[in-house]
Symmetry: C2
């Protein structure tokens, strides 16, 4: 493996949309929601270990998840763990990791990835990432992975390619024409039918110089805050420095802050069985089905006359379900939630209501 290849795993999210499975004290990336036996971050780490030297894999997460992270990835050395004092979205997270890397390896060639995505075809995925890395090794390119859409999904952002501008000798790699927000269903259909639109995976590949230039050009205030730390990163002063500048940073995504503005943005299009597993519906989609089309995740589940449900049992308790259709039933050691699949957007409100009752369940 090339020693200048690095991976930055972004693991700072704190969504509770999978409550009661996910809680603010143990968000999705630290859970085995799919029932694979590994948490998302463990799967992500192990996946990249196959193409990136272990010691070159860095994880950025919130301070409060440090123990969870160390517990789940005990191999990580202290210096591979970057702790954010507060959440500021992906741009500051990436700026922090990249400026820290500058001190370690100015020639770093980097893949940046969320911690909590599902990749079904791992070898195809890794080939795609390696191909992207081989391009950014000696090109000033901000590359993102685009997923060939197999349905008019409204939960993802889309990337429009410039079909005329295919990169030489790099299959399915194009200059980006536009990034789009999550579309409505009509627009999503148009996107998919056009053949020019790909799902935005939020996985990025670039070399250190390219991303630092792009930050400097497109997010100069944020860039300047983190640039001031050169000489401080990887020293005992790093923690205080980070605590200080994070509070000065605005919260902004790398997509909005950099990718949508920069000129050297490319997309590598592929199809490796990707899902952000960002919702119960998405979990249902990627889960194998039993009986009458139920996704049953976990042991000790018995169903009768029940169809098209997601039934997740993350406890040692029994879960018996009769006569439900199109419901989510999720049980943990702290709570059980029964809700129609069509209402999953209300989980947010439920979490707020439960939180009002007692913080212990959230």
């Amino acid at each position: 493996m090339a020693s200048n290849r690095y991976c930055i795993i972004m693991a700072g999210g704190s969504s509770t949309r999978f409550w009661p499975l996910s809680k603010s004290t143990s968000p999705k990336q630290f859970l085995d929601i799919l029932g694979t036996g590994k948490t998302f971050i463990q799967s992500t780490y192990e996946r990249f270990c196959q193409i990136i030297p272990k010691e070159n894999i860095y994880v950025v997460t919130n301070e409060k998840y440090r123990d969870l992270l160390v517990n789940q990835l005990p191999e990580l050395k202290e210096e591979q763990i970057l702790l954010e004092p507060i959440r500021r979205n992906t741009a500051p997270c990436i700026a922090y990791a990249c400026y820290k890397l500058l001190n370690i390896d100015p020639e770093a060639n980097i893949v940046v990835t969320p911690a909590d995505h599902l990749i079904l075809n791992e070898s195809k995925f890794l080939k795609t990432v390696e191909s992207a890395l081989s391009y950014t090794e000696n090109h000033d390119a901000l590359m993102t992975l685009g997923i060939h859409p197999n349905r008019a999904e409204t939960a993802y952002g889309y990337i429009q390619i410039n079909a005329e501008e295919q990169v030489d000798k790099h299959e399915h790699t194009y200059k980006v024409k536009t990034f789009t927000e999550k579309p409505n269903i009509e627009l999503a259909k148009v996107f998919v039918d056009s053949g020019e639109f790909y799902w935005n995976s939020g996985i990025f590949v670039w070399n250190l110089k390219s991303i630092l230039n792009a930050l400097s050009e497109n997010l100069p205030e944020i860039d300047s805050l983190f640039r001031d730390g050169v000489g401080i990163y990887n020293s005992p002063k790093e923690k205080d420095f980070i605590a200080n500048i994070y509070s000065l940073c605005r919260s902004i995504s790398i997509d909005f802050g950099v990718m949508e503005k920069a000129q050297n943005v490319y997309v590598k299009c592929a199809d490796f069985g990707w899902s952000d597993v960002g919702s119960w519906a998405s979990l249902f989609q990627v889960s194998p089905k039993k009986g009458r089309g139920n996704a049953e995740i976990g042991d000790n589940i018995i169903t009768y006359n029940t169809s098209n449900c997601i039934i997740s049992n993350k406890s040692d308790k029994m879960l018996v379900v009769q006569g439900l259709n199109d419901y989510i039933v999720a049980q943990t050691d702290q709570a059980t939630m029964i809700i129609p699949k069509s209402n999953e957007k209300e989980v947010k409100n439920i979490v707020a209501d439960v939180s009002n009752l007692s913080k212990e369940f959230i």
Copy 2:
């Protein structure tokens, strides 16, 4: 209180129809299914303590429930606890308790009651029992309490009164014409409309001489088995003696074995808010309703767009229910069950299926 008044509480049932609340290791009589803060047997015991000397209250239960019983009613002395080695229905249970009492107080005047009924109007109930006891004090009568039916219930047996034969000076007390099994709905309507039929509560009042005579006449083999123990009851040999004769006893109810045959059977009709709480439907009926007609029993329950459900949370966990109508949702520390109210008869099959999976949940 008259010192010759006694109470026999029958607490040997092992039904799991309220699973997952009730289990074979902790059946209904030892549970607080109604959420009153007391278990059924505690409520029953405390109710009778108001009219019967405490030391005269005896409890018959299965050997395996001894610890549960002692734990819930620590006031009971060892000699007030009668342990059955195997279940043989109510006739042997009553024969055992009555022959044991013969040695203690041949003048005993006795009320026999199930441990797990709900009585809403306690003072009216106690007055009824006292009135019955005052009659059996000096009459050779097998008296049962009949409940004025307020609906055509098919889950109860009925008692037809002989309206011509009202007992002198004892209001609402009649000679019994017939006992009936649980009727179908059409017959139940006829019963209720007739004004001659009352629900059979399974609560009996009689003096010791009367019930022993009745056992001897109507169930001579069982009577003979227990009569042989005179001189052994209340001695160290009692346990072995009981273990021996129970295995020889046939299983038969006091209703079928004695009450339906004897000639001196009377019913005292009353209306004190009685339910045998014998089913989820019956629990729903007697429970106060919240919101959209839900019976919510226990803490940490939140419902949305949910109506006419029984939601019982016997755990410290949260229970969130959205979009259910006419369901039973029951959660304990061992299991959660979600089932349409109309299917509660299938709980039996569910318990069998769960038991096949693992005995720990049953």
